[in-house]
């Protein structure tokens, strides 16, 4: 159990720091490009990691470190909500576009990630 907690902790901490750095480097004046990019990239990565590990029967620990930890800590729903609300105050249209791009982009990226890494379509939940 301790090794699982460690795997998730180290992965999650790294994911959060990576997200923080990208947001520092890519300031988003009005449209939240950085979070959009982070959520799409993280979804792609989770799709890849999940199907890659599934097909090779690699350890559960790696799935926890890279999937639950790294991708889970890197992508975020709370900041997405905050930005969608902030953008609504500027422009309902832009906010709608941001929400749309996040959802469609995230799902599409996950799907592509699954297939790039030669994954079967699987019901694995990261």
């Amino acid at each position: 159990m301790l090794i699982r907690i460690l795997a998730i902790g180290i992965g999650g901490g790294s994911g959060a720091v990576l997200r923080y750095m990208i947001q520092e480097v890519l300031p988003s004046p009005i449209f939240p490009w950085s979070t959009l990019l982070i959520n799409i990239a993280g979804s792609f990565l989770l799709g890849g990691v999940t199907s890659y590990l599934m097909n090779r029967n690699r350890g559960e620990i790696l799935q926890l470190a890279l999937g639950t930890g790294l991708c889970g800590g890197f992508t975020t729903m709370s900041t997405f909500s905050a930005e969608a609300v902030a953008l609504m105050r500027e422009s309902i249209l832009l906010s709608g576009l941001y929400i749309e791009c996040t959802v469609l982009g995230g799902l599409t990226a996950y799907f592509i990630g699954q297939h790039v890494f030669l994954g079967r379509r699987s019901g694995e939940r990261g």
Binding site: G9, V17, R19, T68, G73, S78, S81, Y110, G126
Partner: protein, 122 residues
């Protein structure tokens, strides 16, 4: 130093997410709609709504630790993508629609409620 604060917050957030998810899966009725991640994302978005309203009361270190680190890692988008596609893949279109709209509209709504609650408290 800032990165260290985010790192520690993110670590605790990810472990908390895994623990809460494991616990919720045990106590919630068996459902094809992934309620555990939905509840986690709703709770974290509500929390961020409160923290952002209280922003002036919190110093930068605390903001990085709790908002960027902890709540950022506690809530997740990648698993949401995975769960949504899982439902779509199983051709559970109604459930997928409910899960996606529930997550997205739900999180935005509770974030807003969190804002209001914090403002009324401060």
């Amino acid at each position: 130093m800032n990165a260290v604060l985010v790192w520690i917050g993110g670590m605790i957030g990810a472990i908390a997410r895994y623990s809460v998810q494991t616990y919720l899966k045990r106590i919630l009725p068996e459902s094809t709609i992934p309620l555990s991640i939905l509840i986690i994302n709703l709770a974290g978005s509500f929390g961020l709504g409160m923290c952002i309203s209280a922003g002036n009361e919190l110093n930068l270190s605390w903001q990085l630790f709790s908002m960027t680190g902890f709540l950022g890692a506690f809530t997740t988008f990648s698993t949401f993508s995975s769960e949504s596609l899982f439902l779509l893949g199983k051709q559970q279109y109604m459930k997928a629609f409910l899960y996606i709209t529930g997550s997205i509209i739900g999180c935005i709504f509770v974030f807003f409620i969190g804002n209001i609650v914090a403002m009324s408290l401060l």
